[in-house]
C-alpha cells in the first residue's frame, strides 16, 4: 500500500506538542472522558508521520469530540453536525495532496452522518476518520445514538433502548473502506500506531476508538466510576475484534479521478447528455 505522507512533508522529527495549541487548554472535556487521550494519540500520529500543518486539514463535526479542532494547530474546518466527511470529501477531491482527517463522534459519524460515512467508504476518498465512540450523545446530555446497545439506559431511553447499535467497523468494511481498525482510549500506544497507519492509506480509513462517557452513559447504566469504566475498557479489548481489521488495496478516488481527468483531456469520453454532438 502506498504511503502518501512519506517524502517532502517528513522534514524533521516532530512531537505531538508541535500540533497542540497549548494556549487553548484546558480542554472542555469532563473528568474521566477519553477524548484527551485520543487527541494526544492523534497528534502523536501526526508527529510520527511528520505531517506539515500547512498541508493538513482537520475537519470536525458537532459534539464533544467535534470540539477537538480547538486544540489543533493545523488547518481546520469545524463544520455542521454529521457533515464532516462531506466537507472533507470536498477538500480531498479538489486537493488530493493534502492530508485530510475527519474527527467525529458516534452521533456525528454513525447517526446523523451515516449516509456520508458509507458513501465516503464506497467512494474510497482518501480521508482518515478518527471516530470517538462513547455510545451516546455527550454534548446534548446523554441521548441514544446509532451505536447505543439495545437495552441501554440513556436520557431518551429511560426504559431501555429498543434498537440495536451499529458495528461501525463491520459497516465500514462492507461499504468498501481501504483500512479499518478498532482500539480504545485506554490503549494509547495502539491508538497512536493505528491512526498513524491509517494516515498512510491512500483510500478511506477508519479508526474507531471506544471511549468512556462516565458523565452520562456510564452513570445511567451503572458502570461505576470513571476508573472502573477505564478498567472495563481494558478488559473488553481482550475479548473482541481490536487492532487493524481490514487493510486492502483498492484504487482511491484520487487515483481513479486522475484517470477521469486524463481521459477527459484526451477526449476519449463517451458523448452522452443533453447536447451530445
Amino acid at each position: 500500500m502506498k504511503d502518501r505522507t512519506a517524502g517532502p512533508t517528513r522534514s524533521r522529527a516532530r512531537g505531538y506538542t508541535d500540533y497542540l495549541d497549548e494556549a487553548a487548554l484546558p480542554h472542555i472535556w469532563c473528568a474521566g472522558c477519553g477524548n484527551g487521550n485520543v487527541l494526544k494519540a492523534l497528534l502523536g500520529a501526526f508527529a510520527s508521520r511528520g505531517l506539515d500543518p500547512r498541508m493538513t486539514v482537520v475537519v470536525t463535526g458537532i459534539g464533544c469530540w467535534g470540539k477537538a479542532d480547538d486544540y489543533i494547530r493545523t488547518n481546520a474546518i469545524h463544520g455542521t453536525h454529521g457533515r464532516a466527511l462531506a466537507v472533507a470529501t470536498g477538500v480531498k477531491a479538489y486537493r488530493p495532496e493534502l492530508a485530510v482527517v475527519a474527527l467525529m463522534g458516534d452521533g456525528d459519524f454513525a447517526t446523523i452522518g451515516g449516509n456520508h460515512f458509507i458513501h465516503a467508504a464506497r467512494r474510497n476518498i482518501g480521508v482518515t476518520a478518527v471516530v470517538a465512540n462513547n455510545l451516546n450523545y455527550g454534548m446534548t446530555g446523554g441521548q441514544y445514538s446509532g451505536t447505543t446497545p439495545a437495552g441501554s439506559l440513556t436520557s431518551t431511553s429511560p426504559y431501555g433502548h429498543a434498537e440495536e447499535g451499529f458495528d461501525l467497523c463491520a459497516l465500514a468494511e462492507a461499504a468498501g473502506a481501504a483500512y479499518v481498525a478498532r482500539t480504545t482510549a485506554y490503549h494509547y500506544r495502539q491508538m497512536e500506531t493505528l491512526i498513524a497507519e491509517a494516515l498512510g492509506v491512500d483510500g478511506f480509513s477508519l479508526v474507531e476508538v471506544l471511549t468512556p462517557c462516565p458523565t452520562y452513559y456510564g452513570r445511567l447504566n451503572r458502570e461505576g466510576s470513571a476508573p472502573e469504566m477505564w478498567r472495563a475498557l481494558k478488559e473488553r479489548a481482550r475479548g473482541g475484534s481490536f487492532g487493524c481489521l481490514v487493510r486492502r488495496d483498492r484504487p482511491s478516488f484520487a487515483e481513479r479521478y486522475a484517470g477521469v481527468q486524463a481521459a477527459a483531456r484526451a477526449g476519449t469520453g463517451t458523448e452522452v447528455g443533453p447536447d451530445a454532438r
Partner: protein, 409 residues
Amino acid sequence: MTRKAFWQGNEAVLEGAVAAGARFYAGYPITPSSEIAELASRRLPALGGVFIQMEDEIASMAALVGASLAGAKAFTATSGPGFSLMQENIGLAIMVEAPCVVINVMRSGPSTGLATKPAQADVMQARWGTHGDHPAVALVPASVSECFSLTVAAFNLAERLRMPVFVLSDEIIGHMRERVEVPPEGSLEIWERPRPSGDPSEYRPYRPGPDGVPPLAEFGGPYVFHATSSMHDERGVSANDAGTAAALIARLGAKVLRNWELLPPPEIVDTASLLGSGHDRPGKGAKPAGGVLLVAFGSSARSARQVLVDHPERFVTLFRPRTLWPFPEAELSALVEDHESVVVAEMNTGQLVLEAERVVAGRRPVRAALRSDGEIITPEEIWEVVCGRRDARAGRTGESWSGTGGSGR
C-alpha cells in the same frame, strides 16, 4: 471575437461558470437542473477540475465549502427539493465565508410538486432559507444570455464578498434555447477572492479588509487557518461572548450592503424605450395618467415585457430586478410616485409582492398577477391586472387568481 451560440439556459449557466473560472462541482441529480451536472461532469475534468456526484444535496453543499476553502471556485445546481436540503450548509458557507455559487432552477412545489414545471416560489427561501440572521445575494436571469452573464456575475460576487451567491433560474429559462453573443475569451471581467499577504503568523482569516471582506487563504498554501460554524473571532476561534457575536452578525450583513454598487442593477424599460421614439409619452418628466409600474423577474418578466409591446397606448414601466436579493429597493422606490399603481407579476402565491409593498409603503396601491399551477403567467393575465380588472390578492380569499375579481384594494 464575439461568437454566436444557440444555447439552452442550463448550458449557458455551465458555460458562464467555466468562463468565470469554476473548477469544482458537487451536486445531486434533479429535474430541471440536471443538464448542468451532466455538462459539468464532461467539461471540468478536462480543465483539471473536479466533478463529483455526492450522496445528497446536504453533502453537495458541504463539499462545496471544503473545496472552496481549499482554493476552488466551486458551484452546484439544483431545484427546490435539493435547495431545501442545501440550506443547512448554505448557512455553513455564510458563516465560514466560503465563496461558492448555487444555481436553483426553480420548479413547482411544495415538496415534489410538479417536478417538470416552472415556478418562482423560492423567492423567500433564497432570502431566509437557512436559519439565523444572515445576508443573501440572489441573481435572477430572464434570458439564456443572462444565464451566462449572471452566472459569471454570481461567481464574481461570491469571490469578492466571500459568501454563497444564488442564481435563481426556472424551468422555462433553464430549458429554453436562445441565441447568445458569447464574449471573446479573456474579455470577461473576472474577480478573485481577496488574498492575504504578509507574515503567515499574523494572518487573521476573519479580520475584514477595507470593504468589510476578510482576505481568504487556501489550504495547502503558506497560511494555516481555522474556519468554524460557531460564532468566532478574527482568528476563526469560536467565541461565546455577546460582543463577538454582535460584531460578526453585523459585519456579515454589512459586507453585502456596503458593496451594493457591485450588484447587477435592475432593468427599467418603458414603452418609449422599448418601442422607440414614436411612442414617446407626452412631455418628458410629466406623469401620464394611469401609469403602472410593473415589477417582474425571470420568466415572468418576459410576459411582462410583452404587455408593453402589446399595449403601447398605456404608460407602463417594467422594473425587472437582476438582483433579487438584496432587493433593489432604492431603485424601485424612486419610480413609485411617477405611477398611479404598482403591479407585481410572479409565479407563486405572492412573495416578491410583499417586498414591493414594503418599498411602496402605502404611497400607491399594489396589485398582483400570480400563478402557481406550473404554467407561465401570460401577458394577457398580467394585462388584466395592469388594467385594474383583476388582482390576485384582492380580498385575500385564497381563491385561485382567475377566480378573484375587483380592482385595487
